[in-house]
Symmetry: C2
Subunit: 136 residues, 2 copies
DNA sequence: ATACACTCTCTAGTGACTAGAGGTTCAAGG
DNA sequence: CCTTGAACCTCTAGTCACTAGAGAGTGTAT
């Protein structure tokens, strides 16, 4: 594959141009070769690496985790256990977030159900918020 | 209630001191009276307002929404419809987030299930990430 | 040769705080 | 009254993962 510009790389990976530069800045992508006019030119490995990053980000991995996964993926002879651990930790984190959101939704929906759409003075949603339930 | 210090307000509302100052800075809390030495002193209304804010934040409302809810709660004669709308929009947002997280978890768990804990070279999790599935 | 889309660097902004530096004030004990 | 020390003050900068914009330079097609 001939070298491609940053815009073309963006098109092929669905990652925006400023984001690509940002990834380079934080060391997720290696600095590419440049034209005489100092424009970036990328090859096939950059496309693959950036797709990997994008997919991991879509799955909700944070950048430090992406960094770890990238570095593991470059050591094909190592055991898969670390990868497994990172992914499992992430699944647990997702589970916690889901549980929290479900609880929030429950609390909100029950005040909404109780809301008679009268005046704000009698609004259950507002009441629920104004409730003094801080522990001392 | 006698006036209380920012630290005491923090204790009574479980909101950290720097966060209280931040809320004042962004106009969520009115600037309180000060002692001669320029220290903040709060009354009962500040405790109530900050509890309201804290509870709304715990429910996942963002600061602009909290601002709206606060302003509505101060117009007790108005209809409750606006409050209802804000809360319902928020429930929908929570639903979207839950759906997304459930989908992510599914994708992650199926790669984890397929992972035989061998070498990274055969790791399904890594494979799934490296998959070239960007739309052109 | 010119047009113009693309690229460059750099700075600053987002949301909702959090952390730290360096200095001042309050309340209690001696 | 004096001292100690916890709590307070302001201000700046950092977090995360980008996003937006200014102002200048480059590449390519006609």
């Amino acid at each position: 594959m001939a070298d491609i510009s940053i815009g073309e790389l963006a098109r092929r990976t669905s990652v925006k141009v400023p984001t690509i530069r940002f990834y380079e800045q934080v060391g997720l992508l290696p600095a590419p070769v440049r034209t005489e006019g100092r424009q970036r030119r990328y090859g096939a490995t950059a496309v693959a690496r950036l797709n990997f990053i994008r997919h991991a980000r879509e799955l909700g991995f944070e950048l430090p985790a992406v960094r770890e996964l990238l570095s593991l993926s470059e050591q094909p002879e190592r055991s898969c256990i670390e990868v497994d651990r990172i992914a499992r930790r992430h699944v647990e984190d997702i589970n916690r977030r889901i549980a929290r959101l479900v609880a929030l939704r429950g609390e909100l929906e029950s005040s909404l159900d109780a809301c008679g759409h009268g005046r704000v003075a009698e609004c259950r949603v507002i009441e629920a918020l104004a409730d003094q339930t801080a522990q001392p």
